[in-house]
Subunit: 371 residues, 2 copies
Amino acid sequence: MATIGVIPGDGVGPEVIREAVAILEDLGAARGLGLDFAPVDLGSDRYLRTGEVLPESVQQELSRCDAILLGAIGDPRVPPGVLEKGLLLRLRFDFQQYINLRPVQLFPGVETPIKGKGPEQIDLVVVRENNEDLYVGAGGFTRKGTPEEVAIQTSINTRAGVERCLRYAFDLAGRRAQARVFPGLSDADRAAGKRGLVSLVAKTNVLTFAHDLWDRAFREVAADYPAIKTDYHHVDACCMRLVVSPERYDVIVTTNMFGDIITDLGAVLQGGMGVAASGNLNPERTYPSMFEPVHGSAPDIAGTGKANPIAAILSIGLLLDHLGSPDAAADVRSAVARVLADPGAPKTPDLGGTATTSEVGRAVREAIAAK
Amino acid sequence: MATIGVIPGDGVGPEVIREAVAILEDLGAARGLGLDFAPVDLGSDRYLRTGEVLPESVQQELSRCDAILLGAIGDPRVPPGVLEKGLLLRLRFDFQQYINLRPVQLFPGVETPIKGKGPEQIDLVVVRENNEDLYVGAGGFTRKGTPEEVAIQTSINTRAGVERCLRYAFDLAGRRAQARVFPGLSDADRAAGKRGLVSLVAKTNVLTFAHDLWDRAFREVAADYPAIKTDYHHVDACCMRLVVSPERYDVIVTTNMFGDIITDLGAVLQGGMGVAASGNLNPERTYPSMFEPVHGSAPDIAGTGKANPIAAILSIGLLLDHLGSPDAAADVRSAVARVLADPGAPKTPDLGGTATTSEVGRAVREAIAAK
Ligand SMILES: CC(C)[C@H](C(=O)O)[C@@H](O)C(=O)O
Ligand SMILES: CC(C)[C@H](C(=O)O)[C@@H](O)C(=O)O
């Protein structure tokens, strides 16, 4: 038995989550996974109605779940930071979801905006540290509102926090070197030696305190993984290389802030926000992990049926992996791969189609059933 | 009379600077600009030979120059940060070069790695704040080297420092709305209302101290420029949009760290590091400004003649603008544009050609003379 706390959230959140939950329900029933769902009302509507961002009782309820599925949070009527810090980052931090896992994989049939690159070149995973750095909320003002105002914002990095993230990345690189974690591609790149590489992305030449710690920890952890290759990229160079030669990356490990930036770039490479999944993981399972599409609430298309549910659906693939159902997870991904590869299958407008959110969701459900 | 301090620096630095200086010499003689050149020996070689990064006497000498032309700094034999902080950032800070100006323009004839975009879509300028933020070097360690180690790095932002940068960006947007600052394109986009837009790129929803200051200052400065439109982009979304729809940007203003990242991405859009120019500006001219190609020392191709001198040459365009010779600057840019647009003209390997650094430099010189 596993209980999934479901936070549909704002904008297109409820629309894509509906499809993801329908698939989980199907799979749960067909495989006897024993999933049940606890809908949780959080987000802009609740905040605007009641002033509550994350009431203690709701957090308690979420803490008893085995995993959380989140749609999207954000609304133009709410000031920046209120929901992000009070809800999204609070859950990531309080539940020690210290890994933000973001696979960047171009599925056959999806177009990338980059010339000359295809699924063989775009298949990497970003392991973003998710509990430290500039995201801790440390900082303040002096002389606020005057011409002499100073505002500071501090990145806090602990050896323990960095090291657990690095170890996760090296373990993941090891698993990827053993087996294709993601479907759709040949093993050619593994034979070509592409697998088993962890790239640290940081800015050691400028952030000489924070990233000196990262750099030292990286070297020391790497020594425990002699079979895994390593390299280092400054964040600016990495952004360049992601566009020009994404094939040089396998597992990227990076800080919270840089991870935020390069995973959006990664989402572009793989065909856009409509297909980018993520998991906020507490690998030890002391607390529930949280799975969410990388996209936001997209208020501009909310209610139009244009939202692509694939990102949310791929996020439940990560959820099933985390809950120990890798076969169900693989079935979700291979169904998505088949739908995306099939020119006749429904696609939302972001992928050049004219289908609605629920038509795409249904196609994936049918592909899973037809397997 | 103007004296240009010339720091060829490391790797390909001296190779590209040679071409840039030759052009400045030609132009100076032909137009009576009265330029003279003070070669300055700084960089890895000096450091490895003598341990000196930036001796006081050299800094004095540089401070008396009207502008500085820098090739590149960096060598694998020098630990990260030593030259970057001790030389490059030191000059940027000590000489109050608080604007890092980085035009992102795709010249006709240059290929961008992005599908479906051409010179009409890729023509923006990034105004990167250059004296504050995470680049100030504030931070430290506690319990260094132990499992309890904590490393912090602090972004410092002052109202005065941010405001002067914002004002520069708004003034620049005004000038771009009046006239085409860069050559090669029609005025169609201006007619289409694309000009006169300043986009703030930050992360207000997470960096709720530092970027709250930026956000408030942005709104207040914008009120002084009623003819200029404004919008706001989170840094992660901006990276996505730069690849998917670069045409939505005119002038981007951003922090030092985010500017570092998005200008490398910008360089990719415009055809790579080989063509990306920059100016570190002290707009008041209290101190010398410094002009440098965005690329680094590229030790892998140093000495092979493969380095593209266009980035360094476009940087002297920015230098000539700054020294008050806009006609000479325009001639440099239009000569570069003609060489790049001419399929028969020499190109370095990064642009798909087989010519050497000096062949390209000569072609630009001849194009200027032939004007
Ligand atoms: C909404 C925001 C706080 C969040 C982040 O910066 O982590 C988002 O951009 C993401 O990447 O999940
Ligand atoms: C070399 C490094 C310190 C520098 C920076 O980060 O500013 C470089 O990347 C740049 O963009 O000029």
